[in-house]
Amino acid sequence: MSTRKPLPLKKKTHSLQDLQQPAVSSKVFIQRDYSSGTICKFQTKLPSELESRIDKQQFEETIQTLNNLYAEAEKLGGKSYLEGCLACLTAYTIFLCIETHYEKVLKKIARYIKDQNEKIYAPRGLLLTDPLERGLRVIEITIFEDRSIGSGR
């Protein structure tokens, strides 16, 4: 380290915000939960940054519903096997014609997220991003803070 005065780096970033004084946004990422294998499932634990913003139960309910929807999309059952066998018999050309079960559920998920954003998250200054836009890796939650002057987090 150089001999200059150590910079309080976190505060440094906030001082930049002070200059502009717009609404600040930061992001929290809910990572995948791989304890059950490679199926799409997200961790339900409420991150510390959101504790002041949203009720833990509400958050867990949202994530759990999303997990259930993804499980429904990836479920191995009669319907998916039928789709798979039919696809094989037609040399997979049906994938060009019809919408698969997975795609239908993804649309359902997109509608659910939009609905949750409108009803629950936007009033609290939060925004859920559809994990599909992040390659199903994370659920990105953007936190909007109203023009806080130097308060930071």
């Binding site: 970033t13 946004s25 191995l76 798979g84 993804l106 991003t129 390659g135 994370v138």
Partner: protein, 464 residues
Amino acid sequence: MRNCEYQQIDPRTLTVTPSTAQNQTEKKSQPVRRKWEVFPGKNRFFCDGRIMLARQSGVLPLTLGLIVVTCGLFFAFDCPFLVHHLTVFIPVIAAVLFVFVTISLLWTSFTDPGILPRATPDEAADIEKQIDTSGSSTYRPPPRTKEILINQQVVKLKYCFTCKMFRPPRTSHCSLCDNCVERFDHHCPWVGNCVGKRNYRFFYSFIISLSFLTSFIFGCVITHITLRSQAGKSLVQSIQESPASVVELVICFFSIWSILGLSGFHTYLVASNLTTNEDIKGSWSGKRGAEDSGNPYSYNNIITNCCATLCGPMPPSLIDRRGFVPPDEAVPAASASEIELPLFTAKNDAHRCTQSTKDVLERMVHSSDIPGLCPHGAPKTTPLGLEVPSLPAPSMEPSPSALCSQQHAHQPAPLPCTQFSRSREKDSVQSINPAFRLALPSPSLSRTSLILGDTPDIGFVLRP
């Protein structure tokens, strides 16, 4: 301009000029592009993003050529004789098999194998935050791994330096295509693409149907020559009358060994829910002695394993090739690239940092508080730049099947950071901010707030 800990910005490059301000408006008026045009991996796209191939198409033309030529010769020279002497169903069956093989091959080659899009700068910064690098800038940080428990089995997730994320289980980075591919099996040069989660079933259909096709043609040609020589002619005479049959025989004979072997091998993999990558690395075998007990992904039932792999639901393509790049991402490219800076070699960073810092300056109201934005992680990045070649590289052993030279992921890229810095610009364009696409509370939530929103991450990166 104060001296930075890592690298000094040349103050002369930081002048805010009217031309740079103009660049902003120019970027705004850039034509809207589709995401495939800014895709950072080494892939080629056709039909406006509908079809994709690896950059090196390998021997795909040869594969197609061999199949077409062999079947063409068969239909032209052997079928007339066989239809006359046996049955009309022979060319019918051959035609059905030929169509199935060709379509499966094209599906395998042109489908997204399950490419994972690279992490956005925000995600990457968040992950960096969580990794404890314990600050020593001169010491090369250890390879980043994370252990998780899957079905009571410990699995190590590795950090991908190119894609800037912890790879999900069974995901591997293909150095030829420069992408992380889910459920990575192998990169097949015969098909000219990686084989992964989304196109494994097509690949399997291809090799199974090709086995049937080559066996069928081989059998028919043998029958043809035998029938000819039975009609009072010698074998040599029969061959002279139908020389094309010999060509087909030779092609089929050599193909059958490799194709049947490959089919058998992949049938074993499907039945035990393994990938070629895992089998060759011996990830699950030998750990507990028993066959399937080590594999946490296996359903321990052959039928279920087969159904899950081949008939399971078709996952969507995650890279959204034909989506449009949101226009407001072109401008935050500079700020996003600041966050990515600490992860790359200093050489390329120096130029980019000054460039991006210049852009930041344009947005800030001629702020003097610039040093805080100097995230030249030069000591930090150089080790990373060196580290990629030394990532645990499993041996590049040839696969059991001679036909498909199955190349595994961890070939160190010679200049990973240079390549990535080239693609970083494209990457940063991809940093999606749907918050700004949806209705925002205040119209002042512009790119500036995006930058400011990112700076906490820079702050963390700078933490010694």
